[in-house]
Symmetry: C2
Subunit: 417 residues, 2 copies
């Protein structure tokens, strides 16, 4: 029996046939919610190729990234990679055509992303990610707009302020902290990496790593504990408070984001119980478009990404994923085979009116048809009946309310409302 | 400046910045229409990995397929390929878990597919395809159900019977034709290939190819011209006629479908003017699940695929693609900066009510804000106003009808209906 590649997922319709497969319905529920919320905020959808030149990623992240990429040489001898993240593609697209769009540019995408790390059995090699980005605005009002969107996406999935929190931080605050204590700018990224791992690493390990860079763990801890907002963060907090969203955010300088390219406000969304990895993360990256465009285009930028895997785990554990089925409006019962042609016409009429409808493809006993209708969890059964005068009428039964009525064929679509 | 790989597409929001890029809005319009129509027919969505073991494709199509695949060796030394079609993945998924689903199984997917043919400059190496398949039913009633769905997808895109036609044919009819004239079964596939190219190849070439196989072109032509429906095709035509869809189909034995795995009714959708390649194609493939499952599962099957590229070209040429914009319900004008916090709260309230809303992130002159609202083609402008008694009210202007009214803040969402 053929099997799929390790780290890849099959998505099936619910109810799921096996614990080893994923729900295509739940995935679509995320996609629909992501899209609808982004649109409420005036964000427009874009997409790029799932395969890009390898250089697009090494340019941004250095050659060390290659070890984590799903990269290969194609038949045209090009070094290529399945996209591990969307931001480089987006920066490339923005750099190419930003002149044609009024600022601020507010865009979103729902890409599938890939990575290949060796010796990571059982770990996924692909996931889907909701990406929202905003270009062309330096002011913290843009950061607040993006963070409000992040909050509202999670709220649209029925998560509350008791369930999640956005931890706000600032690369600028950390840069100031660093600059006051160390004159060697070249050590800054290494320092950020230690801060990024502070919550996961052993205390002694962090203390030693920091000491090597000339820093003191207690000093770092005191800075984090003070949680003194920068001017930008204060503006973001004020803006979110005006919207009534203050309870969803807190200053937390433990967050710094591992990636080198962030420049300002950074943030991560977590479940309050800290049972899961970050639900989403993002921040400002004002220099990336310039880097990707070879200096030709310079645009401030910020964005976040939210993956499907942690989010689905969280929603599942909190009982917030709906149950999915075929969501059919009606099952057309064909109990009198002389009425099959007329019943097919009725099926067609109902579908043309926008209703979701199924029926038995072949002659079957009435109770078997009804059983199928129940399995499909349809809202109504519908059957054609011939009156004594030969005229056709439609018998509609609402399976939720048990109500039954007979209507003219032309009124059948409305009877399913 | 970094560029995308040849044969791949960037999808931008409309209006498009350049003729070399594609519309993400038009793509989403196709996806939405495909999904909505499939659901009306009771089809459920599935998806599989975009990367599969190479063997999945060579098993079905032989080693010669490799020359057209985007295949490579991954870091784990596996021979893999970016999926060139969805059917093998689907057959694999069905074979693994069909026992858990009641028959008939009606599923659809919207995969991105890939191919790599050398020396095909300018030709796309990826496209999206709407795939609908039905498993577990031998009767032509299933073929009719699938073809009706194909017709209704094209109608949902506003194409009429004057614009397109489904050409119906039968592998079985051709198998009978072949068997009556040639005893060597092993030549059948080669014969089908010649028939498949009959409309494109030079007459002399076809005549010679057929003669080599022991066939006569005039004999073939007479068979096609007779268009005698098989019992299955007659049943399909009758079923579609009952639905009122007879005018969308015709028997046309020129269609045979190149792929080896079809077993029964086959069909292709074309624009009536024959300006474009096939819009969609499909048919019965009753042996594939057995092949892919190594003989473990035997299920009759049929399906079709419809690509996005030809379809978008056709819709564009017929003026059937809508114009897309941000589709915003309102732009909140902030003309009095002392009302910014309250205006942000109003933006939030409107968005929470489901409205799509934008506003100027930073203070801007009134006429500049209004210009932005017009660029975004919003339906309403909205502004907070403070009455003499200090109470806030909302001034709503409908930019389509020019109607203006003042409502309470709590009534603002309803005023945008």
């Amino acid at each position: 029996m053929m099997e799929r590649l390790p780290g890849f997922r099959d998505f099936y319709p619910e109810p799921l046939p096996h614990k080893d497969v994923w729900s295509c319905d739940a995935r679509q529920y995320l996609f629909d919610t992501w899209r609808a919320t982004a649109r409420r905020y005036g964000f427009r959808e874009y997409d790029g190729p799932p395969l890009e030149p390898l250089e697009l990623y090494t340019l941004k992240s250095g050659d060390e990234i290659v070890g984590q990429l799903y990269n290969f040489t194609d038949k045209g001898e090009r070094a290529v990679a399945l996209r591990p993240e969307m931001t480089p593609t987006l920066a490339r697209m923005i750099a190419a055509h930003e002149r044609n769009y009024k600022k601020p540019i507010k865009w979103f995408a729902l890409p599938q992303l890939f990575r290949y790390e060796r010796q990571q059995k059982g770990r996924l090699r692909e996931h889907f990610q909701f990406n929202c980005d905003l270009f062309g605005e330096n002011d913290p009002a843009a950061d607040a707009e993006l963070i409000a969107l992040l909050i509202d996406v999670l709220r649209a999935l029925k998560l509350t302020a008791e369930e999640f929190v956005i931890r706000l931080s600032s690369r600028r605050a950390w840069a100031d902290f660093f600059a006051k204590r160390c004159a060697d700018e070249s050590k800054a990224y290494e320092f950020y990496q230690v801060i990024d791992k502070l919550e996961r690493d052993d205390e002694a390990v962090s203390r030693e790593k920091l000491a090597k860079l000339g820093f003191n763990l207690d000093d770092v801890r005191a800075f984090i504990a003070a949680s003194e907002p920068t001017a930008e963060l204060a503006a973001v907090l004020g803006n979110l408070a005006a919207r009534g969203l203050r309870e969803f955010v807190k200053i937390d300088y433990n967050v710094i984001r591992g990636l080198a390219y962030y420049t300002g406000v950074v943030f991560e969304a977590f479940d309050r119980k800290s049972e899961f990895r970050a639900i989403a993360g993002g921040g400002r990256y004002d220099n990336l478009v310039k880097l990707i465009s070879g200096g030709k285009v310079d645009l401030p930028a910020l964005g976040f990404g939210m993956g499907d895997v942690v989010l689905l785990e969280l929603l599942k554990s909190r009982g917030l994923l709906p149950k999915f089925d075929a969501a059919l409006d009606a099952f057309v019962m064909i109990e009198d085979e002389t009425l099959r042609a007329d019943s097919l016409r009725l099926v067609q009429t109902l579908r043309e009116s926008g209703r979701a409808v199924d029926y038995a493809l072949l002659p079957a006993k009435s109770d078997k048809q009804f059983k199928r209708a129940q399995e499909l969890n349809v809202r109504h059964t519908v059957r054609l009946e011939r009156a004594a005068d030969g005229a056709l009428a439609v018998r509609v039964k609402n399976l939720r309310t048990r109500e039954e009525k007979t209507v003219a064929v032309s009124d059948a679509p409305a009877a399913l409302a």
